[in-house]
């Protein structure tokens, strides 16, 4: 290493490896840090500890079973994986989804988005060390999981969407319960703000820390709330609307930098809170206009064969742009199902982002990126 006279007081770099299973990491991955005192000089990231061979498993199963695997893509926000696969297959087969099924899908997707963002709050609160807010948020997330259970019978791996619609119709009183939960979360959001968002301790840990510059976002191709918190206005729901999002009125919140500067940890956190309230707006609109009719397209019969062809579907998942390239050769099993997970770009940005921050801020910055290592590893 080259040294000049100004570097005389600089200390030697120490290397520190944080293994795959560690309490300060949001998910299994391996970080190789070289530290200059408390400052991180450089960082290397290694993932793959959650590689399940998902895409190979998709190729080995019949089309119907692939839905169950797509929902294991990102278990925390399971619906998005199913949704992007179904959209792709529907584009190949030219299946028209009934309006009722679309509404149910939107309700599920937005509930999943809220649930995933609540889990994000849990992770960041854990990184900061605020125990109480974890339990409050988990208490409220349980209500959403109850809704999933009421509709689909499962809490996490829903396996509910089908090609051309959904698996079952909504039960009586489900829509009212959705509205109830929305109202409850709206009230609880104030509680979170009082307890955590504008808490002195949390602000000190999060404001001005881990600022994500726009250049890095463009270089890595980051999408989703992380990019929007830094001011990059991109949302698939607005740009290429799918599933009737163009008929709904909602805004895309952008980072404003109330706590510190635009794009820091606190800004990313606040943006998630705003997205939750926007999702609740969407839910309220959809709940008013659930039409009567079929919940699955009549074209899709029991032994439905996907015709040969290919499609590329893209949706906005809770972490960013989720794409899916589906290739069918007209046989029983898919020829190729390839996912474009948003977290891959977030993971790529980590080494550059953590350069120059202090070691004690590392868990907070990592948690604030909302890394879905499961979907990045596939």
């Amino acid at each position: 290493m080259k040294r000049n006279s100004n570097d005389f007081f600089k200390t030697d770099l120490t290397t520190w490896e944080i293994g795959p299973y560690h309490g300060s990491l949001p998910a299994p991955m391996r970080l190789k840090l070289s530290l200059d005192g408390e400052i991180i000089a450089s960082c290397q990231i290694e993932t793959g500890f959650l590689h399940r061979g998902l895409e190979k498993a998709c190729e080995l199963h019949s089309w119907k079973s692939v839905i169950a695997y797509a929902d294991h893509l990102d278990p925390e926000a399971a619906v998005f994986g199913e949704l992007v696969l179904c959209l792709g297959v529907e584009e190949i087969g030219e299946i028209v989804v009934p309006a009722r099924a679309q509404c149910i899908r939107v309700i599920l997707a937005e509930l999943t988005r809220i649930s995933s963002h609540l889990a994000y709050i849990v992770r960041i609160a854990r990184a900061v060390g605020s125990e109480t807010i974890i339990h409050y948020v988990l208490r409220d997330r349980e209500r959403i999981l109850d809704l999933f259970e009421l509709l689909t019978g499962a809490r996490f791996s829903l396996n509910f969407l089908r090609f051309g619609g959904v698996c079952a119709d909504v039960t009586d009183g489900f829509i009212e319960r959705v509205l109830e939960v929305c109202e409850m979360i709206r009230i609880r959001m104030k509680e979170y703000n009082d307890l955590f968002t504008f808490n002195h301790g949390f602000l000190k840990r999060s404001a001005f820390v881990g600022t994500l510059p726009t250049s890095l976002i463009r270089a890595c191709g980051m999408t989703g709330p992380n990019a929007r918190a830094s001011g990059v206005n991109f949302d698939v729901r607005k740009e290429t609307p799918y599933m009737g999002y163009d008929e709904l009125e909602f805004q895309i919140p952008l980072g404003q930098g109330e706590g510190g500067n635009i794009g820091d940890v606190h800004d990313r956190f606040l943006l998630r809170l705003r997205e939750i309230s926007q999702s609740m707006e969407i839910l309220k609109q959809v709940a008013d206009r659930v039409p009567a009719g079929d919940f699955i397209s009549s074209k899709v019969e029991k032994d439905y064969v996907v015709p040969p062809g290919e499609a590329y579907a893209r949706i906005e998942s809770s972490r960013g742009l989720l794409g899916c390239h589906v290739v069918s050769d007209g046989k029983e099993k898919p020829s190729r199902v390839q996912f474009r997970p948003p977290s891959l770009a977030h993971l790529m940005a980590v080494p550059e982002l953590v350069e120059g921050i202090r070691i004690e801020d590392l868990p907070v910055v990592l948690a604030s990126l909302d890394l879905g290592v499961a979907e990045a590893d596939r």
């Binding site: 120490t14 109480t132 974890i134 409050y136 404001a207 820390v209 510190g260 004690e360 801020d361």
Partner: protein
Amino acid sequence: MNTGNDQISWIVSWCRAIGLTPSNTPPWLYALLALLCTFCFVVVPSGAFISYLDRKLSADLQARVGPNRAGPGGLFQPFADILKLLQKDTQKQWGWRENFWLSVHTMALYSTLAVLPLGSVALLVDTEMSAFLPFWSALVLGLGTMLLGLSQESVPGWFGGIRVAAQTLAGSFPALVALLCVGIRAGGFRWSVLANSQGFSPWSWAVFANPFLLVAFFIFVMSGLVLLAIAPLDGGLSMSDIHGGGIFPSFRTEAELISFWEILRIFPLVGNHCGSFSGCLAAPQRLYSWTSET
């Protein structure tokens, strides 16, 4: 009747105050018994109960139940934890660093025992023990921590060790000077001499004997704050250093439970200081003589 010159007189007076009379049984038995009973029936159960309360209360704050399976309402949870920890294997890799760490801790423990102002009987060594002993042990602790920091083989560890050592020195010397003032007035530096030189009423306390001693008392308290790094005087371990990141000026929502608990740490410290600067140590004896006269 005690004359006041007896070194263990004040323990006996404590015993008398709870109804025991010194017969032929040696007084050290009383002292040991009292220590043992206090430890077994007061210290350990209250510590366990407080940890149980802590877990239950924090669970209640977090909308949970807390431990409720071990014993009635989970009351025996701390005992289960302790018994489980006793059954765990020891760590396999035991190097020189761990030995060093253990020896430093042993020294600290020993000096705590030595500092307890119980007179000559209940102590491990002859305790015509001077009031300088705590400072000696504090210096040992500071030196030990510094050596431990130096053995970390990293520059932050180095500076951490030196920081602690500097803090210890910065706290010790003013306290030493303050203690010198009290000792010169009392005519000796043993705890017993210090205690017996002061009367029961505040008018005979060392603090109010003259203005210099009043100043010395405040210096003593301040240096204690520095030694223990309690909130206002924790310059060596300053918060912005530990928390890192930027300093944020505009939001001031100061509802931090942590700082409240840090304030509570002051009370035992202040009690300790008042003990050596006022007549508290001699209080039972004075009380006894006062009740027996009337």
